[in-house]
Point group: C2
Chain length 401, copies 2
């Protein structure tokens, strides 16, 4: 859960190489183009944005990964290649083609991901000019560099890893992600690449990525917006050469994938645009699964609740008001609310000034939990969110200028 100094060797995965360059797509001259490549064809699976407006790289990668196999990912920051029409889609295809030629692989084994400003196709000359050096510089130690090249308003690169054994053979899962704004259930301006050397079939890889996304990236919120460019891609190259997975092996792998995604998702919220607080919102006692999810989402996305987090104010009236407008089955007089272990509401009523003072103290920490018990049934859900701050406004009022 803590950002740590990266030891490049920690993030090496057998049979994968990566590289990153500054191609000039970002105005600040930082790293903005990354290539990740497996030595052999990999089993590949992806989860993509639900936004109806899909960026060109989303359309292309969705197409290319459908067959369940891939070898390379080229990702850029600085330009989202979204709302860029036919020209944008052609540029995404051209990018895949140039990478494929340079790597001597079929173009449909290349996945493309982009993040950055929406509304104009990227500068193709800069991309094509940088591809040869990207390929030249591919190295097993290149993964952390790639994680830097996909950052936009992120303040730190996000990586996580897991080590497991399957069929008695050790394997690794390494994940990288970028996040920051437009983070909302059903993904975000969020890219996540998961690389593993386990040998696994497509059906199981898809199962692991789906259940992981549902529990992690679909349970975080920064500002309630959903981006046009989200994707989670997983490549499993089988370099570990393990035999078939036992049910127990798969369970460990699935948990490993989820733990990597969970660490990355948590980093994304912690690094939410302008965020100073990481808040786990939990709703228990809901009458249905849907009610539980609706309730956590409404609280986690309320501007008034999120500014109260920023102000370290246990303003439970705003939480009650959010619940009341969330269209769930509830009774005001049944609601209990806690900040960490301090109960501030019981039976719909405030527990008084002393409890609120204690809760305010808890809210001074960088991370705390808000728990609501509706006492209407047995369903619960949770979501990670952050506070709404002056810096969020500054970052988003000035992003393009």
């Amino acid at each position: 859960m803590v950002t740590r100094k990266m030891d490049v060797e920690e993030y090496v995965v057998q049979g994968f190489k990566a590289s990153a360059v500054a191609a000039g797509l970002k105005k600040d001259g930082g790293l903005d183009l990354a290539l990740i490549c497996s030595e052999r064809i990999s089993v590949g699976a992806g989860v993509f944005t639900l936004n109806q407006v899909k960026a060109a790289p989303v359309i292309l990668s969705c197409e290319n990964i459908e067959k369940g196999a891939a070898r390379a990912i080229i990702a850029n920051s600085g330009n989202a290649n979204a709302c860029s029409g036919k020209e944008g889609l052609e540029k995404a295809r051209r990018t895949a083609l140039l990478v494929a030629r340079e790597l001597h692989i079929p173009p449909d084994e290349v996945l493309v991901a982009s993040t950055g400003v929406i509304g104009a196709p990227p500068d193709m000359d800069r991309i094509s000019g940088a591809i040869p050096s990207l390929v030249r510089e591919l190295s097993p130690q290149g993964i952390p560099g790639a994680s830097q090249a996909i950052m936009t308003t992120d303040s730190f690169p996000k990586m996580s890893r897991f080590e497991g054994e399957a069929d008695g053979i050790p394997y690794r899962i390494v994940g990288m992600a970028k996040g920051a704004g437009m983070i909302m259930p059903n993904m975000a301006t969020m890219l996540c690449f998961l690389l593993t050397d386990i040998k696994i079939d497509l059906q199981h890889l898809r199962k692991a990525i789906s259940s992981g996304v549902r529990k992690t990236f679909n349970r975080i919120s920064v500002d309630g917006d959903t981006s046009t460019n989200d994707m989670v891609l997983a490549l499993a190259n089988g370099a570990a050469e393990n035999g078939p997975l036992s049910p127990g092996d798969f369970e460990v792998f699935e948990e490993g994938m989820t733990s990597v995604m969970n660490e990355l998702a948590t980093m994304i919220v912690r690094d939410g645009e302008g965020a100073t607080k990481l808040v786990l919102v939990r709703v228990a006692g809901a009458a249905s699964e849907k009610d539980a999810l609706t309730a956590v989402r409404t609280i986690a996305n309320s501007s008034l609740v999120k500014t109260a987090f920023y102000g370290q104010d246990p303003n439970w009236g705003r939480i009650m008001a959010a619940l009341g407008r969330s269209d769930i089955h509830m009774k005001e007089e049944d609601v209990s609310i806690w900040i960490d272990d301090v109960q501030i509401v019981e039976g719909g009523l405030g527990k008084g000034a002393e409890a609120e003072r204690e809760a305010a103290n808890k809210m001074e920490k960088k991370a705390f939990t808000l728990t609501v018990d509706l006492h209407q049934g047995g369903f619960e859900d949770r979501m990670m969110t952050c506070d709404l701050t002056h810096d969020y406004v500054s970052i988003n009022a000035n992003y393009r200028t």
Copy 2:
């Protein structure tokens, strides 16, 4: 549409009196308790918050107005009397009872409205202590004072009026409102009182208030939250002594009510917490009425779009992204977007840097229009919204402290 110096005589309505005092409910010692009273029993109608968590005064006033008649409104700021349980409801009833006694009218002819901090019942001693002087100071010129006493984070009092004729007899409609935060479709921490001396039956008064609310207060948004305390109350005391309304007379009255509510609603958005821009969001060419409303709401409530308004940035990519996640029938390549009369998107694609520069110039104004044409059908809708600013965060992070 412009805040103007109040001429108290302008806001006199035959047969109504009002007064305001500082009862000590607000920490700053400002006016915080208002009484409005009709000399005779009035036809009364109301529209109340859809939030499931309803403040005590909402429950009481809803009950008392059901019979279609009322004489007085007592309204306080500083305390919302919401999430205050049985004690809160008893205090609201007690308030109505004390006013009724002092005015020598039945308690069920008194409506109660409250706004302010949620979560504790109001200080009853301060209210009961102030009622005698409130009644003593009732005056036909007291309406503007009452409009000040209902302010919370409002930066100016909000009043509007309309003069019409019915059956050849002149009448007046005077409205007051308070708004500021938690403003979102389906009302807001929003109180609005409409006073008229027209003689009208209950059915027509209800019709006029409903259609007015739908077109005005349900089409504004500040932060996407909906309050526990919203209400619009209309009292028609019949002092004009006009005869039955012709269809034409009713039409004029309905338009008059809507224009008063529209002016008040516009003032509320203009005075949205921290707002510096007033933006009319229009969506045309939607495939259905529902799609048109969903699209304007999603745009008008997007934190990313609203920070771009603040930054005077015609960031149409964020508008496209909002449309894409709004679950409406749309095709990216059919979308056109304008800022005032400057087209920035055609066929889903940006019109280029020159158009964006022109649009950015339009956005420097305090008020502008954002128009989206989906080209999917013949339905349209509109909503007033404001920008999301540093001051919004400051006001809401520090509201209770």
